[in-house]
């Protein structure tokens, strides 16, 4: 025997004959209590999850380290046909781990492009040792005038442009300035294959030509001039 189809319930609790219902009430008390309990649980969980997540992510993504300028020598110390290695501190307070080697030479008008923007004071070129394949340390070999990476065979020419191996863009550089006759090294910046400057430096393995500069957006965690 087929049972008769149930009448669709009215949305008003008064029509459904629920004791204690009042005019215009649509949410039953059972339903209200269920939602309240679930809501309270969700609020309690969010109360510790969200701060913990923000704590883990926030400073890693949004803290911009201060700009540091480190004196590395006199202007006349640097030739324009060879690189001098200098050790600078990237992160303070963690000993040798926070240091990195920078290859430096005087500006050579025959091979270096005119300063960009014009009038920008760049008398010394500072090239980073961080390989643009995956970040191993490159070394400069004067005999071949090449930067060579020991990990996967990346090779760069005298200006730091890629001439072989897997790197995706030229070696990073550092801002330099001369103060009271002292050459100072400042924040890192990245360049694309035309040596165009990107202030918010990118990690290795991120090409900056063509679509690459949009696929690898600038970050808020990098030092900025």
């Amino acid at each position: 025997m087929a049972t008769a189809r149930k009448e669709p319930q009215s949305k008003y609790t008064t029509d459904r004959g629920i004791p204690g219902a009042f005019e215009g009430e649509t949410v039953t008390r059972r339903r209200f209590m269920t939602l309240t309990a679930h809501g309270a649980g969700a609020t309690a969980a969010a109360a510790f999850t969200l701060p913990a997540l923000g704590f883990a992510v926030g400073s890693a993504l949004f803290d911009r380290p201060p700009v540091r300028w480190e004196a590395v020598g006199k202007l006349e110390d640097f030739p324009d046909d060879s690189y001098i290695p200098k050790v600078i501190t990237m992160t303070t307070g963690i000993g040798d781990v926070g240091k990195t080697t920078v290859y430096m030479r005087a500006r050579n008008d025959d091979i270096d492009q005119p300063p960009n923007p014009p009038g920008y004071d760049e008398q010394v070129v500072a090239v980073s040792t961080r390989c643009m394949h995956l970040g191993c340390p490159v070394r400069y070999v004067q005999a071949s005038e090449r930067f060579i990476c020991p990990c996967h065979g990346g090779v760069y020419d005298f200006q730091g442009k890629v001439v072989g191996g897997p790197p995706v863009r030229p070696l990073d550089r550092f801002y330099t300035r001369v103060r009271n006759g002292n050459v100072e090294v400042g924040p890192r910046y990245s360049v694309n294959s035309e040596l165009k400057r990107f202030d918010s430096y990118r990690d290795p393995a991120q090409p900056l030509d063509g679509i690459g500069q949009y696929l690898y957006p600038p970050r808020l965690s990098t030092t900025k001039q």
Partner: protein, 263 residues
């Protein structure tokens, strides 16, 4: 549902009392006390039913040594957990102290080199065993219905094992650890759009900084081991619930009784 009784060998079955032996001997008293205390717990938790459900399962014909690879992986994990807890008592995850404390464990602590070696080689063993276990599951077709979810959990466990390997690699803090981590963070950052931010999250900033090591340490010893332990629990629950598969070379046969009835 009535659960089957554990198949105890005859020597362990309780013997009926002999007549004319009224006094309990000390051994019997101890036995009584043990049974009574276990009964006390069981009456309040009903754990014995679950225990029997987990331990005394029907196992298909043809079960062989390949079926022990999952347990072997779990024991490799337990070895990592135990040795890791004790290594943490001597290790110091600060960039200036980490290498020195690892050297201290190896050279100065009693059995330090042995326990550190167990942790180091145990990690390699765990990766090898988890792969063999996965291969067994694949070649025996044990990932098929209704065990797909267990395969998925297993893959998550595999990935978490890799995360453990990656984060643990930095902790000795020698040249190899340092540059391997630089490379790993840069590989992470090479993903388009989200990559740069993931790299920042892993390092705790744009550069390898003061908190990168402690970050890796916290992930290595707090975050991932908890996840792995919980997922191993789920993995084992599903194994107990669904049972294991027979090896693929075993063809299903009808019970003899049915064949006789048909004739």
């Amino acid at each position: 549902m009535k659960l089957p009784k554990p198949p105890l060998p005859p020597a362990l079955l309780p013997r009926p009392k002999r007549p004319g032996e009224p006094r309990q001997r000390p051994l019997e008293q101890a036995k009584e006390a043990g049974i009574a205390s276990i009964d006390w717990i069981d009456e309040r938790t009903a754990l014995s039913g679950g225990g029997r459900w987990l331990m005394f399962r029907k196992v298909p014909k043809g079960t062989n040594w390949f079926y022990t690879l999952g347990s072997a992986t779990m024991f490799a994990f337990l070895n990592q957990a135990v040795t890791g807890v004790f290594l943490a008592m001597y290790y110091d995850p600060s960039p200036t102290r980490a290498y020195e404390s690892a050297r201290y464990i190896t050279n100065d602590v009693f059995l330090g080199e042995f326990v550190r070696g167990m942790h180091k080689w145990g990690s390699t063993m765990m990766v090898i065993l988890i792969f063999l276990h996965m291969a067994r599951t694949f070649f025996f077709g044990a990932y098929k219905y209704p065990r797909e979810l267990n395969w998925v959990i297993g893959v998550v466990l595999l990935i978490l094992t890799f995360v453990m390997s990656l984060t643990g690699y930095l902790l000795p803090f020698d040249q190899r650890s340092y540059w391997a981590t630089i490379v790993a963070a840069n590989i992470t950052a090479s993903g388009p759009l989200a990559g740069p931010y993931l790299g920042d999250f892993l390092r705790g900033g744009a550069e390898f900084g003061a908190t990168t090591l402690s970050r890796f340490y916290a992930i290595h010893m707090l975050l991932v081991p908890g996840l792995i332990a919980a997922l191993i629990g789920a993995h084992l629950y599903l194994v107990a619930r669904l049972g294991t598969t027979a090896p693929p070379w075993l063809k299903p046969t009808e019970p003899e009784k049915l064949t006789q009835e048909r004739v």
